[in-house]
């Protein structure tokens, strides 16, 4: 829409470039005219960077006409705003991406053979957030199933069984405390760790997350103290339990600890349980490669049938509508979606496959969640279904640090209604 601005500043930029520092800096602006077609590939998941760096090197070695450039840290929102987003993105699918899709900023990939291979229940996870009429804009690459990580050695030494109800969980925690072991390790300095683990597990263990948000979306501006569903009404109980667990069973210095501290402490056996996802295993293994760890869904009710695991689309691929290298980007996408490439990634990163022909999960650390994943007994994190403009993670952090749960949830309701008003 501001196309007409494009030309004038260029001329001016050139003039000023000469006036200022000469061609040195200007060279940066005009780079990449000739030579092989460049595809800027965005992937920001820190743990996955080395794997994809190798893949890119391999692909570039095989292809003379396309060169994939790795982009691990640019600001996506700003990239789209500038009109020069990466040509191919492979990243966590969240509300931010959902909004890009909703506004038609992501191109249609439904004609790609890769789209056929995606498991329907996984593609459903994408649609839970947003859809754009007539398009399949996002192809899931890897799903992470997350639940409570526990130190199997401690559990064994204390003679503890994996809890399947909330009461059993409390019993386990009390037994650990009695033995002088911190039950949970919290890392509340980093808000995302609260939202991802503590909040999502407790809420997901009690609330049907997808149904809840469907109703919330329908209510929109009517969400409030008197609406049939609301954060205040439906989340108060799990969140209060979350606070109870934190107050009684988490390390006392959790407020000043971050993700790195948590991985280190858990690896050193400073706590028996850790509310993190499988991405933490790699970090834990750096300190304690032989530590026996496992996973179990956080029980929040009295019925073992209610157990579900949290999933999120850890990586999903998309190609922006404005990309000038769509074909080349699609070619690289196909390269990434080769079954053995996907399987290797998922095996290394402890992810679950998203395609009908994916290899089954075998790693002992996450195999505890397999039965739930295969049966589609999973939910997407409640904190992830809220648009990023609402500082959900910070709210959950505040709750973890002792803020009043009900009033914070009420704030969340008000934010939700206000957002619905202006969108």
């Amino acid at each position: 829409m501001f196309r007409f601005f494009r030309r004038k500043p260029r001329v001016l930029a050139a003039t000023l470039g000469l006036l200022l520092v000469g061609g040195t800096l200007a060279g940066c602006a005009g780079a990449g005219g000739s030579g092989p077609e460049t595809v800027r590939f965005h992937l920001s998941k820190p743990e996955a960077i080395p794997y994809f760096r190798e893949l890119i090197a391999e692909y570039n070695a095989q292809n003379d006409d396309v060169e994939v450039v790795f982009d691990t840290s640019s600001n996506l929102q700003a990239g789209f705003l500038r009109g020069n987003p990466p040509d191919l993105g492979l990243l966590n699918y969240n509300m931010e991406m959902a909004r890009f899709m909703e506004r038609g900023a992501l191109s249609d990939l439904s004609d790609m053979p890769e789209a056929e291979r995606i498991l329907p229940e996984v593609q459903d996870l994408v649609d839970q957030y947003a859809t754009y009429p007539g398009r399949t804009s996002v192809l899931p690459y890897s799903v992470m199933a997350a639940s409570v990580i526990y130190n199997a050695q401690i559990f064994e030494e204390q003679g503890l069984a994996i809890p399947t109800t909330y009461d059993e969980l409390i019993t386990v925690c009390d037994a650990l405390l009695a033995a002088g072991i911190t039950p949970f390790y919290g890392t509340f300095r980093e808000p995302w760790t609260v939202a991802q683990g503590w909040f999502d597990y407790t809420v997901g263990g009690m609330v049907e997350v997808a149904d809840f948000y469907e109703e919330m979306n329908e209510l929109g501006t009517e969400v409030g103290p008197d609406s049939p569903v609301s954060f205040e009404k439906d989340f108060a109980e799990p969140v209060t339990r979350m606070q109870y667990l934190i107050e009684n069973y988490a390390n006392a210095d959790a407020a000043s600890k971050g993700y790195g501290d948590g991985n280190l402490a858990f690896a050193q056996g400073q706590a028996a349980m850790y509310m993190q996802g499988p991405w933490a295993f790699g970090e834990i293994a750096k300190t304690a490669p032989d530590l026996a760890v496992g996973t179990f869904p956080l029980p929040m009710t009295d019925d073992p049938e209610d157990l579900e695991v949290r999933v999120n689309i850890d990586l999903a691929a998309w190609i922006p509508e404005v990309s000038e290298h769509k074909e080349a980007a699609r070619d690289f996408l196909s390269y990434l979606f080769q079954q053995e490439v996907m399987d290797e990634y998922n095996a290394a990163q402890l992810g679950y496959g998203t395609t009908t022909d994916a290899a089954p999960v075998t790693d002992p650390r996450i195999v505890g969640m397999k039965q739930y994943y295969d049966a589609a007994e999973f939910y997407q994190g409640a904190s992830k279904a809220i648009p990023l403009t609402i500082p959900t993670e910070n709210y959950t952090q505040a709750i973890a640090l002792g803020a009043d749960a009900v009033s914070t949830l009420r704030t969340l309701d008000a934010d939700w209604a206000r957002l619905a008003l202006r969108q």
């Binding site: 500043p9 602006a29 005009g30 691990t72 840290s73 640019s74 705003l81 280190l264």
Partner: protein, 310 residues
């Protein structure tokens, strides 16, 4: 905007004489305001001030000592212990990890461009404005350009991200231009005030000798502006070299980021390797501090002059 020519001269002269610390014009000014009234320097006051100076030194000391530790020693989190053994591994890692030379070069180019651009554009515009003050366009331009002082960067940041992207200026050149634009109003304020104090006879005699406006400006005016240019330049340097927000938002390619932004980009990768992170901070801080230590007298004078006028 209310700065009057006469007032400006007074200020400039005043600060110039006063800032050399000896206060020639007012020989007794130093005494009386605090300390003892005698001729001997006050020792207790000196000690109090030295203690205050410790608060400035401590973070810098911690940066240096942490940077020279081994990783094994750094993880214990004790900020005040001396490095034992002394190690440069943090520097080696930080140098390679953050690609320090590239970030330094980008920072240096942006800063140099900003200083040069601010001084030259500001001086040219100010000269045109002050010599054509009774012409409406120039008078209004003055107020128009001053308006940037009312516009904080965050207000226009988002559209600027959009426009620089569309114009292909989402790079250090774009940052340089924006830095100049945000410095421009202040520099024009200083330059015009100073220009009005230059007696017109000087210029007239130059013109009688046949100099064109262009020649007059470069041969006569611009050299005369030198002290103000130094002030403007110092402000531009500080603002540009230390800026974080603008480059972080405007430059799209992380490989072309400035030193301060690079620190934030690598924050998660530094993780608990404090020796690496502090080595990186130290390398990012050191150039400006070193330059300052060699030019402190000018910097202090320049800042005083500019700030008192601003």
């Amino acid at each position: 905007m209310s700065v009057q020519p006469a007032l400006a001269v007074e200020n400039i002269e005043g600060t110039k004489t006063l800032e050399d610390g000896k206060a020639r014009r007012t020989p007794t000014a130093n005494r009386g305001n605090g300390g003892n009234g005698g001729t001997k320097p006050s020792l207790p006051l000196t000690i109090i001030l030295l203690l205050c100076a410790v608060t400035v030194i401590v973070p810098l000391y911690v940066t240096v000592s942490m940077a020279f530790k081994t990783q094994a020693q750094a993880v214990d989190g004790n900020a005040f212990s001396l490095p034992a053994p002394f190690s440069v591994e943090g520097f080696v890692t930080a140098w390679n990890l953050t690609n320090f030379p590239a970030a330094f070069l980008v920072s240096a180019l942006i800063t140099a461009g900003t200083v040069a651009g601010t001084v030259i554009l500001g001086a040219l515009a100010s000269y045109a404005i002050s010599r054509n003050w009774n012409h409406r366009l120039f008078r209004w331009s003055f107020f128009y350009l001053l308006a940037a002082m009312f516009i904080p960067f965050p207000v226009v940041a988002l559209p600027q991200i959009q426009l620089t992207g569309l114009a292909g200026l989402d790079n250090p050149l774009g940052v340089t231009i924006l830095h100049i634009m945000f410095q421009l109003s202040f520099s024009i304020l200083l330059f015009t005030a100073f220009l009005r104090s230059i007696p017109s006879e000087l210029e007239e005699s130059a013109r009688i000798d046949g100099a064109t406006t262009w020649q007059t400006f470069w041969r006569l005016i611009f050299p005369l502006l030198a002290p103000m240019s130094a002030t403007v330049g110092i402000f531009a340097f500080l603002a540009s070299w230390n800026d974080f927000m603008m480059p972080s938002l405007i430059t799209s390619d992380p490989a072309l980021q400035t030193l301060p932004v690079v620190q934030s980009i690598f924050q998660t990768q530094f993780s608990n390797n404090y020796n690496v992170s502090f080595a990186s901070y130290l390398m990012a801080m050191a150039p400006a501090i070193i330059v300052y230590l060699f030019t402190q007298r000018w910097v202090m004078e320049g800042v005083t002059q500019g700030a008192v006028k601003g």
